[in-house]
Amino acid sequence: MADDPRIGYVGADSGELTFPELTLSGQEYSQPLAIKMLSGGRFVVLDQDTPPGFDVAAELAKLDAPAPKASRKAASSES
């Protein structure tokens, strides 16, 4: 299942977390210092040092707005 590498998932039955590869802005990270919950058992890791000009609220709204299925489709079509 090809997913947006910025999105993590909460196991529906286990409650265990699958962490995303990248932070919300696409940076690598060493520790999940801030976790923002999205709808549908998804979450993103926020940046420790947010790049100047990066609109966190807008990006979160974009990720949270569509249904998860539509989001995954969009992510895979970009790759």
Binding site: V10, S14, G15, I35, M37, L46
Partner: protein, 289 residues
């Protein structure tokens, strides 16, 4: 089963975690603006990768004596008059820790494949933190447990800029941070000290507490958005109980109930947006963080 106090061997500097305090002394992870959290977000401490020692200095106490007939008469200790500064030492240069405690932002934009840091020697209002230090303990039968010491209200400074040296066998940079301690009227999870709290101290404030438990204690804060019914813990808790045996769960400084803990997910009844949930519980996963 209640923990049975016993004499024990203490050893090692295992895990060190640091979190910022907001204006009301609630923990807020590493949030740059701790009084302006994003609702629906979990904030967790920075786990410091290479701590080697924390050296607590002797406090200063006032003493009063009387003298008559060429000899000492009464002599009493009155009270603590000041804290001395402690020293926290890392064995490596950690620019994430340094920028966090010195209050600047690392520049990863000027050169996106490099990292530029400063010293921020001109800072006017040093940040305030909670600092958790975990050491191990062993009974005479070698039963291992962990003691997490929490310095509840501290500030940091580096005494000097960076050094270089050709001396081998030791890190040439002085990575010792001076720690300025103060008291906190809240326990780390936000409960106010009071005469009716389970931990009663004189003056309803203190500088440190320690928690003896089966694993290092993770400190997590969730800021409610008034809608979500789950939040995620950054490290798996060792216990999924939520009846008050191991996991300390508070909301806005008051003991709170949760629906369940499954894996690393805590299920709650959503509160109001901005409510501050705190979760302090043992997590062996921290040992490999």
């Amino acid at each position: 089963m209640a923990y049975t106090p016993t004499s024990r061997l203490l050893y090692g500097q295992w895990i060190a975690q640091i979190w910022r305090l907001d204006a009301n002394n609630y923990p807020k992870g590493t949030l740059a603006a701790p009084d302006s959290p994003v609702a629906g977000t979990v904030y967790s401490p920075y786990v410091i990768p290479a701590p080697i020692s924390y050296q607590a200095a002797d406090d200063t106490f006032a003493e009063v004596s009387s003298f008559a007939n060429t000899q000492l008469r009464a002599r009493v200790q009155v009270a603590l008059t000041d804290f001395a500064n402690d020293t926290f030492t890392l064995s490596e240069l950690d620019d994430t820790f340094d920028s966090l405690v010195m209050g600047y932002t690392n520049d990863v934009t000027t050169a996106t494949s490099m990292r530029i840091r400063a010293r921020n020697s001109g800072r006017r209002t040093p940040r305030r933190f909670g600092l958790a230090l975990t050491r191990a303990s062993a009974t005479k039968d070698n039963v291992i447990s962990y003691e997490t010491i929490i310095k509840m209200n501290v500030q940091f400074r580096r005494a000097a800029g960076s050094n270089t040296s050709q001396t081998f066998g030791q890190n040439p940079d002085p990575l010792a941070y001076t720690v300025i301690k103060a008291r906190n009227s809240r326990m780390p999870w936000g409960k106010a000290f009071s005469s009716s709290s389970n931990l009663v101290v004189d003056g309803n404030a203190d500088d440190e507490i320690s928690i003896q438990g089966p694993a290092p204690i993770m400190a997590v804060t969730y800021v409610d958005d008034g809608a979500a019914t789950t939040f995620a813990l950054p490290y798996a808790p060792d216990y999924t109980e939520h009846a008050g045996a191991y996991n300390i769960i508070y909301k806005n400084g008051t003991s709170a109930s949760v629906t369940s803990i499954s894996g690393s997910t805590v299920t709650i009844t959503a509160g109001s947006s901005g409510d501050i949930w705190t979760f302090f519980g043992p997590s062996t996963a921290l040992l490999t963080a």
